[in-house]
Assembly symmetry: C2
Homo-oligomer: 354 residues x 2
């Protein structure tokens, strides 16, 4: 920290992204990326756009907003796009939380919620998950705070039913409920269908996981036109050209190639089922994940040891040090072939432990 | 505004970007873009990167930071890259201003400074420019505020000498001085050479103007390692993957092709001189702009009228409504051919006015 850094931020603990290692070739199962590349249409559209890069991007990303509106059956003024879904979450904290509107979210969830709240000195409460890592919907029905819920939740992958989400939205008429659906395309029913019905609901999604564009940075929000207007007020007050030209085109093409991506999601679900069964056969406890990752622990090996030994064997998974989950690891679902190697390496490590 | 929008922002007036019109083909001289396309190396690098878009970008953009450090003769820990230079300005307000560290900047300058200050409820003072639109360096030598100075300034294009910038930096040992060099490559001496010498200096630049990448969103900051660390703390607390893979590669290639871009800057300077002389011949007052735009007024026609009539004739320029400059227009320098058309249209309009 420099001697000039505002004391407002002196205790700020930034988000820690997954490792990006280049020392050797890893099977990378640590940041929930898709193992499948973008479609040819994306490649073509991006390549064509480069010759126009001297011109600013459209601050309203109209072409992409229109494609998303059509895909999700919403009016265009219910849609906004952002530089990754972290950016729309950032805007949601700025827009809908303040000293009289605290935030609430689970104690185990996407680590960034706490970072945003601390960054802007916003009051927040972390609601403990149940012992089995499930969310109790009733905890979020008090109509006294801005609700942030990842569905499915991270890093557990456990999802709430749409009917439960609707109850939460309904029970908070005076507060915004943000449903973070980063992982929704891997088998959870989306709350986008509720956007027309509730003016207090903001659903956020991302092209990073199901649409193979983590490296392009593209997120989106779906909400009532009034909430979208608020988000746009902040977007135009921070970075109006937030989505660059290439990413905008990549997003439009990805929507046009929806079948390819949704089919990849199905493949990932099948591989997830295979990986979960295999881990269970090896004695692991595995949560019922509806995401493109698993969350698992073994009584036979410490979570941090498994993480280190897999890394030595060329497989990167994600280990979190927080107390309650320090024996767990989060494992991104790669291709079937990658996961078979992963399982064989886990088996090797467990054998070595004996 | 929705009924949920935090009252903190109820008076927030967002930044207004230049018009993006698609109703017909315009000569676009309204957003200070380069008329020259990115180089072939940029096109090739971006096209190759698309197949890796399913993977997150490097949060530290090491390859680009390293290329910039080499280009500007600085250690790598003195460099940071951002999603446009608006993002680093945003971080600078968050990092170095608070209730005890107000911001100061000219009353006529880049419109976003005021937006950022208002967004975060930071105290600020606008220092009136002199009557001839120049900055008095002494106004910024009181060591009592975080200084934001665009050099050259916008929308006037007028620049301070490096020796004057150094005096300001030196006179503010207890405050950060941010020199916003968005337009520096068109004929102003950069303060990057002072970064090694002063721990309170942050120089910001962009690839949007001189390097033909407005649509890719790429900005950068140069400062002491301690200031860069503060910026990174905020970057990792808002959007760690802020620079996408394609833009990162485009930036690296643009630095490799430096001669092409710096040669374009020289062409733009020559065209600027031609355009300024031509406008003066038509009786315009034109500021001494060192940027890729001119700032001009005519006693023969109201600024807003000239703007409207040029738009009818297919030429877009930028008109600002603020009192002091309401008779002025800001005209981006395009190609020589475009500026010859611009001048001929201005002539037509002045003839019609008679």
């Amino acid at each position: 920290m420099s001697r000039f850094f505002s004391t407002t931020h002196k205790n700020l603990v930034p988000y820690v992204p997954g490792e990006q290692l280049n020392d050797k070739k890893y099977i990378k199962l640590n940041t929930n990326e898709s193992p499948y590349p973008p479609s040819d249409k994306v490649k073509k559209a991006v390549s064509e756009e480069v010759s126009r890069l001297m011109l600013y991007s459209d601050p309203d990303s109209k072409e992409l907003v229109s494609a998303l509106a059509k895909r999700y059956n919403l009016p265009e003024d219910c849609v906004v796009v952002t530089n990754g879904s972290d950016e729309i979450l950032n805007f949601a904290f700025l827009a809908f939380c303040d000293s009289t509107h605290p935030a609430i979210f689970p104690d185990l969830t996407y680590g960034f919620y706490k970072v945003f709240a601390n960054l802007y000195n916003l009051p927040y409460t972390e609601i403990p998950l149940n012992k089995d890592f499930t969310v109790s919907p009733e905890d979020y029905m008090l109509n006294n705070a801005t609700v942030f819920l990842a569905n499915p939740n991270a890093p557990t992958g456990i999802a709430l039913e749409l009917s439960e989400i609707e109850k939460i939205v309904k029970a908070n008429p005076d507060n915004v409920v943000i449903i973070d659906e980063a992982y929704v395309d891997f088998g959870t029913e989306s709350a986008v269908s509720l956007v027309n019905k509730y003016d207090n609901l903001l659903v956020t999604q991302t092209f990073s996981k199901s649409r193979s564009l983590a490296g392009a940075r593209l997120g989106m929000g779906f909400a009532s036109p009034e909430l979208i207007k608020d988000i746009n007020t902040l977007r135009y007050s921070t970075n109006p050209y937030n989505v660059n030209r290439m990413t905008m085109k990549a997003g439009v093409s990805a929507i046009e190639d929806d079948d390819y991506y949704m089919n990849n999601c199905k493949k990932i679900q099948l591989t997830r089922d295979y990986t979960a069964s295999s881990l269970k056969e090896l004695g692991f406890f595995v949560t019922d994940s509806k995401a493109n990752f698993l969350f698992a622990e073994s009584k036979r090996i410490k979570g941090s040891d498994l993480y280190v030994k897999l890394k030595e064997k060329g497989v990167l998974i994600r280990h979190f040090e927080s107390d309650r989950i320090s024996n767990f690891n989060r494992i991104t679902i790669g291709t079937q072939e990658q996961m078979e190697i992963f399982i064989s390496k886990v088996l090797e490590i467990l054998e070595e432990e004996k």
